[in-house]
């Protein structure tokens, strides 16, 4: 490219992320809005934003739902896959996806999640895993790491009392009707780019009518981790990723 400068947009707000005060609800260093931004970019790039319908659960992730320029339905805690099932069955030509937290998806929402996986619904589920209940002040979640302190595991998570962290991307990959399952993180540029690719692949599966697609995104929650935003990124690298490995767990073009 000779000596000309390649300009890449490195900051700013995608048009689908509306300029609303809702974004200000997020704590400094929270990565939920980063996940929302990636979704907005991907849907824009795939040209499907106009026919997308977003179902949000209950938790900090839901704030993004109020600020993304999609038709949106807010569901009861954990029930987004049920709503998404109905919307997609009624309008097969729309792109239906849920945005959920870890507690929303695999604690209170385990039933609907497993139901949707069992039926192999043509929907996309994006789950933001911050290893705790952020909105309610940092309680234990199924994804809380061993020894991690939360307000309901003040001495840290123990196997005797709370069992072991739930591995949701691996679980989703085990279902026949799943077209795609991956786990990404946003703690450095390489992971950020890879996560965007995962999200894009997941929506491509829905466009191609392959099966259910799932992407889990490890998301920093500095206040409830009792760490600074920067320390949170390090903690993701040192503790969270070793427990929750990144990568694609299933990627098929046909269910057979």
């Amino acid at each position: 490219m000779n000596n000309s400068i390649v300009k890449e947009r490195a900051w700013g707000r995608p048009e689908l992320c509306l300029d609303l005060p809702v974004w200000g609800l997020y704590c400094p260093g929270c990565q939920h809005p980063v996940g929302a931004r990636l979704i907005a970019e991907v849907l824009d790039e795939l040209g499907i934003a106009d026919r997308a319908i977003l179902i949000i659960g209950v938790g900090c992730h839901a704030f993004s739902g109020f600020a993304l320029n999609f038709d949106v339905v807010s569901s009861c805690h954990g029930r987004a896959p049920d709503l998404a099932t109905a919307v997609k069955r009624i309008h097969p030509d729309t792109i239906v996806f849920s945005l959920q937290g870890d507690g929303d998806c695999i604690a209170i929402g385990a039933g609907p999640f497993i139901g949707a996986l069992t039926r192999g619904e043509m929907i996309t589920i994006i789950m933001l895993n911050n290893t705790n209940y952020g909105t309610t002040g940092g309680q234990l979640a199924p994804t809380t790491l061993m020894e991690q302190r939360t307000t309901t595991t003040p001495e840290g998570r123990t196997a005797d009392r709370e069992g072991y962290p739930a591995h949701v991307a691996e679980l989703a990959a085990g279902f026949k009707g799943t077209a795609y399952s991956a786990r990404g993180a946003l703690n450095n540029l390489a992971n950020y780019k890879r996560t965007k690719k995962y999200i894009k692949t997941a929506f491509q599966k829905q466009i191609n009518n392959v099966g259910l697609s799932y992407v889990e995104v490890i998301s920093a929650c500095p206040p409830n981790w009792h760490l600074s935003p920067l320390e949170s990124l390090e903690w993701i690298e040192e503790k969270v990723i070793p427990e929750f490995p990144l990568g694609e767990f299933k990627n098929v073009d046909r269910i057979e």
Partner: protein, 363 residues
């Protein structure tokens, strides 16, 4: 001559729903309502509709929530334990102001209770078991034909008020087979469902639609505060209470004692009134068709004329409380309850002779 077919009350739900243009059903198996999901599973795919067997009744109600948000006419059905599981979803649908129809075929309780008929969910259906004090119109059929007609009315009322409408059936009304005349009932025009989600690019104004049930968490147009929204709901519920009361009276003009009963027991009570009239006893029947809103005014007027009341119901006594509210302390209110069943088992029923015996005792 109009053609009639012999069908069960539960099957009439399906026939009525498709006549009303509803092609979307989400449900979970539970006795004694299994004929309903089975009918839809058979019939909807042929008609281009959607049937989903859900993972639980919470699944049913939340799929209904999703379906309703797209603006289509949609329905689910369940029996008593499943009704309990649906409550958070029903509260949320009421909060999101979406139209849908829910059929509750009552069985015995509490808990697993029995798998046969009863009328033990009166309060659970009319008072709203979920949080927040919302109101749903509750329709109570007493025949297979009425199941059919009221299901169609239910869809109309749901669309009119943007609110869930409940049909409270029971194991007997659901299981009996009677002649049914199938027809599409026209209740008049309804507003366009401009609020439905379909994707921003397909909205006429190109603007996003947001369907929210947590108005106190995120206030948004057209309600700018939480209380603003609740005032709107209050007004809507008052309008329903003022305009949607439905009931049937039988021989009440000169009655000294008025039976109040709904569902299968109303059929029994009518027979008892006939028996009483043959002996020149001045007895009548008031059958609420809407259990909410309840015909309090009609009961009050009769109480002021000096009538006594006998609530007959196949429960430990629930409907009787609404009769007492209507009477406002101005008349005697008696109760003939589940202890009056002809057999002390899950299969026992309240029969006309027993109701007649009670009338004799009171007069």
């Amino acid at each position: 001559m109009t053609e009639k077919i012999l069908v069960q009350g539960n099957e009439a739900v399906g026939l009525a729903a498709v006549s009303a243009g509803c092609l979307y059903f989400f449900g979970y198996p539970i006795t004694p309502q299994n004929e309903i999901p089975e009918w839809f599973a058979r019939e909807l795919p042929k008609r281009g509709g959607v049937f989903v067997q859900t993972e639980s009744e919470t699944g049913s109600i939340n799929m209904l929530y999703g379906a309703a948000s797209t603006g289509v006419r949609c329905i689910t059905s369940t029996s008593s334990p499943g009704w309990g599981l649906m409550q958070e979803g029903i509260s949320s649908i009421a909060g999101a102001e979406l139209p849908c129809v829910i059929v509750l075929v009552q069985r015995g309780g509490p808990g697993g209770g029995s798998i046969r008929h009863s009328q033990m969910d009166y309060m659970a259906a009319t008072r709203g078991g979920g949080g927040g004090g919302y109101k749903n119109i509750v329709l109570a059929p007493a025949s297979v034909q009425e199941v059919h007609d009221l299901i169609q009315l239910a869809f109309y009322l749901a669309d009119k008020y943007l609110n869930p409408v409940v049909m409270l059936s029971d194991g007997i009304i659901g299981q009996i087979a009677e002649n049914l005349e199938i027809k599409t009932i026209d209740f008049g025009p309804l507003p366009e469902k401009d609020w439905a989600v379909r994707g921003v690019g397909r909205q006429k104004d190109g603007k996003r639609r947001m369907i929210l049930h947590g108005r106190g968490v995120i206030a948004g147009p057209p309600y700018f505060t939480y209380v603003n929204f609740l005032d709107h709901l209050k007004e809507k519920y008052q309008k329903m209470a003022d305009t949607e009361v439905r009931y049937e009276t039988y021989q009440t003009d000169d009655a000294e004692i008025i039976l109040v009963a709904y569902g299968y027991v109303a059929r029994v009570a009518k027979e008892a009134v006939k028996m009483a009239r043959e002996q020149d006893l001045k007895v009548g029947l008031l059958r609420p068709i809407t259990l909410w809103p309840f015909p309090y005014q009609q009961i009050k007027e009769k109480a002021e004329l000096g009538c006594k009341f006998l609530a007959a119901e196949d429960s430990m006594g629930l409907l009787v409380d609404d009769v007492r509210i209507g009477v406002e302390g101005k008349a005697e209110v008696h109760l003939l309850d589940i202890s009056a069943r002809h057999m002390p088992t899950d299969g026992g029923m309240i029969l006309p002779g027993r109701v007649f015996q009670e009338i004799r005792r009171l007069l």
